[in-house]
Symmetry: C2
């Protein structure tokens, strides 16, 4: 009897502790690394909970769009000091998340956080520290530059903007020429996304410092995706952007930077809707790029590639919370058909930027190897 | 009698029309050029009035910080559709203005407008078209690049950011070396201000296209001014920033860009508190810079320059709504003492960015002439 009782008590103790552990929030909150200078909130803790604090003394309701899936976000509670506070009801996925506030029915940004262009507007951003965040950390290594260029576009009758990453050493080796990766953002984002949210430059700086990738140039421009309402991607016409990219931007980059200006030294990659653009343009213009990469942005099939010049590499990735089987199956089919195809699945991430930071980190070492 | 009546009637008509004219707001409102993509509001009209429209259906009060001097901003009025709308009670000064919303007692940005770093936070920005806006317009001329660089700073144990404008043709003429202007932002701003708010790159592109200035490099970094509360400028210690600028950034720029790395080809300028920094550093380090410029940022006196190497140029400017007499008198005193000094007063502007855009436009052609 005593033994049995002890077991039952132990079981209840274990269950009780587990429940407690699940509900216990570590009070080791620190400001998110993406806060505006000097701002304490939003905070994140070591478990991935996010905590918000918003001053709005005369408001009735403040809600944060960020929260567990299906929870509709986090409702903040007003204190006597006029601040609304609240914590997500569970830990968030590691990495970068967009969010906004709804204050008395209107949509605004969190004055504590930096803004990032997504959903066709500048949104608040928060960073849940990832266990592998070291690969995109700002370290004391030689840094490449991110250059804003403005190029004339006849087809759109505008002066358009792009950002160009030049690797460390680019200024010194005045005779060296470099291959180029054209890297596209997703729907609702723009040419700032891969540097601001994606840390593409830091990922490259760190890979190059470790000798893990050849140095190359990255070009990021606006994919003209935002004119489309969300959910109407099939209505998107690729031609206007294809003309800007292939007939205007690539020639500009090839005349203004020290590029190896041929197909064998040119790659195209894109995330989400930028993957759809990459898919369409690489198939429409098989003589322009040799390396194709889709990050949470669809797949290639052997059928659609048939009869065209073989790319040197097809890279397809997504987060484990997306459709990893679709990615893996597509790559198996491509390999079976004789293509050099690689799949990558980012563990415990969804359709968000940590998936794409990791994907770039996996992709870069595979580019321009011969 | 008839004649007298006619005169009286005419007088009243004239008075009446004048009053009407003063109160009549032209309904030619257009979206501000600094709106987020696709956003209609805020709007500005040809007279310089600004109109706002904010969705906040359950809010009690929405106020805009922008308004005529002393008016405390513009109070918006709630409509049946849940939108708060309102127009400034008079025309605003031409040029760029920071602003924010106060919603039920909390401070937020206008979701329609782009954000600009000022007052130690990212604020909403609006542009009242200036009659001379052509000099900083984005035109179909050859464009220079604005490069983000990251440099190691031992004195602060950080990797620090700066932006470097390289003029059109910089990539092509691989043997040509360029002089450098170090250009500082004001209190509460950072290294993004001179490109985003100031359009320094477009001002230079246009001047160079017109043959009005020698091409030179501009370097913009964070002046470490924001740690100080507003109104406590006298407590500011220049040494930490001076070390970063003179001992760390200048050597980095001189080794990573094609500069003419001597005093005769180096200028320093700053706006507002950046002018105070320029004043202090040029006097502390008279062997580093040859051209000094203070934009709404104090003056030099012959006494403090006495015994030091003579600068090639001292440029002092401000807006006509600041203290133009102080600027003019200071320059007269400098000239009398044998210095090459130039004053510039921006008409009908205050302590705001149109003053500084115009000042840079006046300053650039005077730099590096021999």
């Amino acid at each position: 009897m005593k033994f049995k009782q002890a077991i039952i008590v132990s079981i209840f103790l274990v269950i009780g502790q587990t429940c407690l552990a699940q509900n216990r929030i570590s009070e080791d909150f620190k400001p998110s690394t993406l806060n505006q200078p000097g701002q304490e909130y939003p905070e994140v803790n070591s478990q991935g909970y996010a905590r918000f604090k918003i001053k709005a003394p005369d408001a009735d309701s403040v809600r944060v769009s960020l929260g567990l899936g299906g929870s509709g976000g986090t409702r903040l509670v007003k204190g006597a000091d006029g601040f609304f506070t609240g914590t997500t009801e569970g830990p968030m996925d590691e990495g970068f998340h967009y969010y906004h506030l709804t204050i008395d029915g209107g949509v605004f940004n969190d004055p504590g956080a930096l803004n990032f262009y997504g959903s066709t507007r500048w949104e608040s951003g928060i960073e849940i520290p990832a266990h592998d965040q070291d690969f995109y950390a700002l370290k004391d290594v030689p840094h490449g530059n991110v250059q804003q260029i403005l190029f004339a576009s006849k087809s759109t009758n505008t002066q358009r903007r792009a950002f160009v990453y030049t690797p460390p050493g680019y200024e010194k080796n005045k005779s060296k020429k470099y291959p180029v990766l054209y890297l596209q953002h997703g729907w609702g984002e723009d040419e700032t996304a891969w540097s601001n949210q994606g840390h593409a430059n830091l990922i490259m700086d760190n890979l190059i410092a470790d000798g893990k990738t050849k140095p190359f140039i990255i070009v990021m421009t606006y994919g003209m995706t935002n004119e489309l309402r969300w959910g109407h991607m099939k209505d998107f016409k690729i031609e206007p952007f294809q003309t800007v990219l292939v007939d205007e931007l690539i020639p500009y980059v090839d005349t203004h930077f020290r590029t190896i200006a041929d197909k064998d030294h040119r790659a195209m990659a894109g995330l989400s809707m930028g993957g759809m653009e990459t898919h369409a343009i690489t198939l429409n213009k098989p003589d322009v790029f040799s390396y194709y990469a889709l990050l949470s942005g669809g797949i290639y099939t052997p059928e659609e590639l048939k009869g065209k010049t073989k790319p040197k590499l097809i890279f397809i990735s997504c987060g484990s919370r997306e459709r990893p089987d679709g990615v893996k199956n597509a790559v198996t089919a491509l390999k079976d058909a004789g293509y050099n195809a690689v799949s990558y699945v980012s563990e415990n991430t969804a359709h968000e930027f940590l998936t794409w930071r990791r994907s770039l980190h996996e992709l870069a070492p595979l580019l321009f190897r011969d």
